[in-house]
C-alpha cells in the first residue's frame, strides 16, 4: 500500500510485533509504538527529554544521525549502546520499510 511501511518491534520480553506504519502522518517511532499500545511511555511527548522511548536499531537501515538533543538525552540514559536511538527522533519515512528495533530496558 502507498505510504504504509512494515516495521518490526521486539518488546522487552523478546516478543516480535509486526506494525504497519503510515509515512504520511508525520509520526515517529515513539508515537507508532504508543498507537499499537506497546509499552513505550513517551513521557516528554517527543521532545527528546526523557529517554522513555529508548530503543536499539537491529536492522542495517541508514537512518538520519542523532541530533544534539538526542545525544544529550542519551548521555543521561542507561543501557546505552552504539545502536541506541530515541524513538521520538525517528520520523517515519518510506526508506524505513523493514526496520527492526528492540525496546530498551527502562532504567531508574
Amino acid at each position: 500500500m502507498e505510504n504504509i511501511i512494515n516495521i518490526t518491534v521486539v518488546d522487552r520480553e523478546g516478543i516480535e510485533h509486526q506494525l504497519e506504519a503510515p509515512t504520511d502522518m508525520n509520526m515517529n517511532m515513539m508515537e507508532l509504538c504508543k498507537s499499537y499500545e506497546l509499552p513505550v511511555d513517551g513521557t516528554c511527548g517527543g521532545m527528546a527529554m526523557c529517554a522513555s522511548c529508548h530503543m536499539y536499531v537491529l536492522s542495517d537501515h541508514h537512518l538520519l544521525a542523532r541530533n544534539d538533543d538526542e545525544e544529550a538525552m542519551l548521555d543521561q540514559a542507561f543501557f546505552v549502546k552504539p545502536n541506541s536511538r530515541l524513538g521520538c527522533q525517528l520520523h517515519l519515512n518510506n526508506a524505513m520499510d523493514g526496520l527492526k528495533v528492540k525496546l530498551a530496558e527502562v532504567g531508574g
Binding site: M47, D75, Q76
Partner: protein, 335 residues
Amino acid sequence: MIETDILIIGAGPCGLFTVFEAGLLKLHCHLVDALPQAGGQLTEIYPKKPIYDIPGFPEVLAGDLVQHLMKQAEPFKPGFSLGERAEKFEQTEDGKFVLTTSRGTQLKAPVVAIAGGLGSFEPRKPPIANLSDFEDMGIEYIVRDPNFYKGKRIVVSGGGDSALDWSIFLANGIAEKVTLIHRSKSFRGHPDSVQKALDMAASGKINLLTDAEVIGVSGDSALRSIKVQHLPEGESDIETDHWLPLFGLSPKLGPLADWGLNIDKNSIEVNTFDYSTNVPGIYAIGDINTYPGKLKLILCGFHEATMMVQSAFKRIYPDKNYVLKYTTVNGVNGF
C-alpha cells in the same frame, strides 16, 4: 496544620489555573509540589520551548505561560509548599483529608485536586542492583549541603550541568579528591562549565574519566568503593566515601499510587462529569487522569480544572446556591 478549601497536588499549569477558577468561587487553594518551583514540567523540562495550542496565544514559551498563570492566580493568594512531595494521606472523621508532605508539613482540606502531571520528579537512578543498600550511606542523588563532603573522597557521575558544576565546586578546596566519570568524551553542560572542568582535570584538581561508567557499588554499612567499566573494555575499582550519580530527574507516580484510587496505566481513572475519582472528595485533573477519549493537552487540563471546581464548591457548600458568573461582568475580585 495548614487549612484550605482545595488542596492541589502539583503546581503545574493545571494546578495553577485551578487556583484562579476556584478563586472565582471564593475557594482558597494551597499547592504542594515536589519540585522547588512552580510550573511542573513546563519549568523543569522545557521552559524555553514554544507552545502553539493555547487558545489566544499563537505562540507562547512554556516558562512564560507559567508566569502568566502565576499572575492570574495571584489575586487569590494561593499557599505553596514547594520542594515537598505529597507523601501520606488520611481521611479525618469530619470527612476532610490530611496530607503529610516529605518534610512533615500537614495540610487539611475538604477537597483534594490531584494535578500531578507525570507524577513527582525524582532523580534518575542508575540500574545497579544493590544501589538502595547505600542510599544516604554514601550514595546521594542531590547535594544538599556541600560542606557535608569536606575532606571526603567523592565520585560524581553524569555529563550535564549539575555533574559539572558540583565537581568544580567540590574540587575547589572542599572534597579531598573528586573523580568525574562520564559515559562519553563530550559534555553537554554549559560551555564555560565544560571548559572549567577540563582545565581542572588538566591541572590535576579533578580526576576525569571519560568513556567510562559506574557499574557496581560495594561496601559494608556504608559505601566503600565503586566499580567502573571503561569503554570499550576493562574494569577498575575506585575507593570512595561518596558517589553522586547526577543523571537528571524523571517523573514517577510515587506515593499517589497507594492512596486507594483506581489507577490504569499510571493514570487515575475519573468520571468526566466532574473529574472525580473513586474516592469522594478527591479529584484528578490534567495529564495524571484518564478517561475514554482523554487527550493530554494543557488546554484540556484547563477545562477539567474549571469543571472540577464547580463540583468541589457543591461538596464544600452543599446548601449554597451558585450561578456561573462572567469575569467580563464582575471582574476578578481577589481575597
